[in-house]
Amino acid sequence: MRGTVSARVKTGLGAIAVIAGCVWGPPSGDCALTVILARHAEPVSSADPDPPLSAAGKRRAQSLAATLRATGVAAIYTTEFRRAEQTAQPLADSLHVAVQRVGAERTTDLVEAILKRQSGVVVAIGHSDTVPRVVAALGGPAIDIAPGEFDALFVVSIAGSDVSVVRLRYGAGAPPVAASTSSKRSQVMKINFVRSGGFAAMPGLTVQGVIDLDESAGKVTSESRKYQRDLPAREVEQLRLAADPARMARAKAALAALSSKLSDAYQYDISVVTSDGKSQKLTFNAGGGDDVDKAAPGLGGLVRWIDDEAQKIKEHR
């Protein structure tokens, strides 16, 4: 879902660090750091690896400047690509703040540069893959930016022991072209899943299944157990949303980090085949869907579904 999403990260840790007179504890105005991140605006469509902004993109860059002009921006970072620089330029011009370039591949350097500032408001314009990486490195949750989505603005606030991320929209909404592309987008047709391992790890506890989906109907089959169940239209729709291949692709690193902390948790092998013949695979360990949602928001539903179905499959004689 797009719109405003707010996520908070909090731990029960009581430690407070004192740095150069700056106390990290309860939020304090002087020490709050706000990082505003956005993907570049719409580029022209061309084979050029470094395309400039389109007319719509230039309008969006103007509206970024209008939106952020009064927020007290102290520094502006972009990548080396023209579309990112051109997105930041109107804001930089209106504030008389120089644009600082940090290579798209140098996310680490960017995060370090941002964190050195300790307080104030910083803007960073990147790309659909670098913005989520920076948000995660700042301590925020996993976020995603869809291919045709240029209007997302992320406000990361770091204060006290809290990191909060608010997702906003700015400028014109996604153009109709993007909307029609998404409705024609290839659909999930098949989901294979295997849940194995766990503390007991008995062969009979490993559950395997295949979900076949067509327009509005579907069925789940577990051949080894001679199990089959027809899926109602609503469940088909839910599974399609839960098993979004793009989200799965983005979740890989976060789920690998989750897996590395766990022992005796189940291993999940999930592969999704779409109507364009492509497939997306994911292997990870998890202690249930809530665990997965914390690491990769939105994917927990699929894990909860597999856990529930595994119980039905196991009980089937």
Binding site: V9, K10, T11, L13, G14, A15, I16, A17, V18, I19, A20, W24, C31, L33, T108, V111, E112, L115, K116, Q118, R133, A136, A137, L138, G139, I158, G160, S161, V194, S196, G197, G198, F199, A200, A201, M202, P203, G204, L205, A257, S260, K261, L262, S263, D264, A265, Y266, Q267, D269, T283, N285, G287, G288, G289, D290, D291, R304, D307, Q311, K314
Partner: protein, 356 residues
């Protein structure tokens, strides 16, 4: 609580939980290392569970451990059949038993394991720095599993058809807690041979906790993992047998215990993190052979050798069976003399399971 200033470029302003997040989740190694280093500077964090969440990446000595007398700090939560952790607090250290038996079993099992590590190896909790022990019971709906999530133990109730509740077995609790110990020491990667070693170490000390509690010698012990866990209709005695891997159960519904007892029968699979719960049978059996050959209480000599190996900085996260075996032989020699009965028993045990 105030701590010394951090001075590391880039991380000096960050609250510790963000450093932990960066240390565990960052896409690049440099960033992770920087965050870990910044955390290391913060001595107050050494004893915190958050530092421990770095999967044992910090092997620093714990000055705090010597300062206060070791004392267990147990907290049991009820997940109330959700998957939301930790859940509702139901029993804290020192509080009397509650009506819910699973809560009391978890509380007692954590206590037994804490006492075992302290008495047998002078280890003060999971991190040897008095880490509070946290467990959640009633996780999920009829959840057939128990696991360690890097910070706490989690117990399902079992479905009542295959399993009884997971809190009923002291060796299961010892097993889960030992994952924490391994995580804060060797931090063996949970995949393939190093993963099977990680699993085996949990079975070894899980079994030792039970033997310690029952005051059994190696000859008297049943060497089973999860005895009593299988519901009455299931054809089997336990989940695993260290004495005779592959014989714990043979049930029409659950299949046959797939554990090998030697390298000739090593199982190659992509499931279960590369068969970590299957091939653990090999090092499990080696420990059984060494402990019974040495005789007496397993935890005293064989256990000590294994414990020192797990805590040896030369044990790499990616260690193979062979690397682990060599280190056990070295520690047997360090503890009881080169060429002594103990070292011979250890080397002979590994030879018998085909680990060279």
């Amino acid at each position: 609580m105030l701590t010394a200033p951090h001075r590391l470029p880039g991380f000096c302003i960050l609250p510790p939980h963000i450093l932990v997040h960066i240390a565990t989740n960052s896409p690049t190694k440099e960033l992770r290392d920087l965050a870990v280093h910044a955390l290391e500077l913060d001595h107050s964090l050494r004893a915190s569970r958050t530092t421990f969440a770095l999967q044992g990446g910090l092997r620093a000595a714990h000055p705090a451990a010597a300062a206060a007398p070791p004392q267990e700090k147990r907290t049991i939560y009820d997940a109330q059949h959700s998957q939301n952790l930790p859940g509702r607090l139901v029993r804290s250290e020192g509080q009397p038993p509650v009506a819910d038996n699973a809560v009391n079993q978890a509380y007692d099992g954590l206590g037994d394991t804490f006492v075992f590590y302290l008495s047998a190896y002078q280890r003060n909790s999971i991190d040897n720095a008095g880490l509070p022990l946290v467990a959640s019971v009633h996780f999920g709906q009829r959840y057939d599993n128990a696991f360690w999530n890097g910070q706490q133990m989690v117990f399902g109730d079992g479905d009542g058809v295959i399993f009884n509740g997971f809190t009923g077995c002291i060796d299961v609790i010892g097993h889960e807690l030992t994952h924490g110990v391994t995580g804060s020491e060797a931090n063996l990667t949970y995949q393939g041979q190093s993963g099977a070693l990680n699993e085996s170490i949990s079975d070894v000390f899980g079994s030792c906790v039970k033997q310690f509690k029952l005051k059994q010698t190696a000859a008297q012990a049943d060497w089973l993992i999860g005895a009593g866990l299988l519901a009455s209709g299931i054809q089997g005695v336990a989940l695993r047998s260290m004495k005779a891997p592959g014989t714990a159960y043979n049930d029409p519904q659950l299949g046959q215990d797939p554990q090998p007892a030697d390298m000739q029968h090593f199982v190659h699979t992509s499931q279960d993190n590369g068969g970590v719960h299957i091939n653990s049978g090999i090092p499990n059996h080696a420990f059984f052979l060494a402990a019974t050959s040495i005789g007496g209480h397993s935890w005293e000599k064989a256990g000590r050798i294994w414990y020192d190996t797990v805590c040896d900085q030369n044990l790499k996260p990616s260690a193979s069976f062979s690397a682990f075996a060599k280190l056990t032989a070295r520690h047997a020699a360090l503890l009881y003399g080169a060429g002594g009965m103990e070292q011979k028993a250890v080397m002979d045990a590994w030879r018998q399971v085909g680990v060279k």
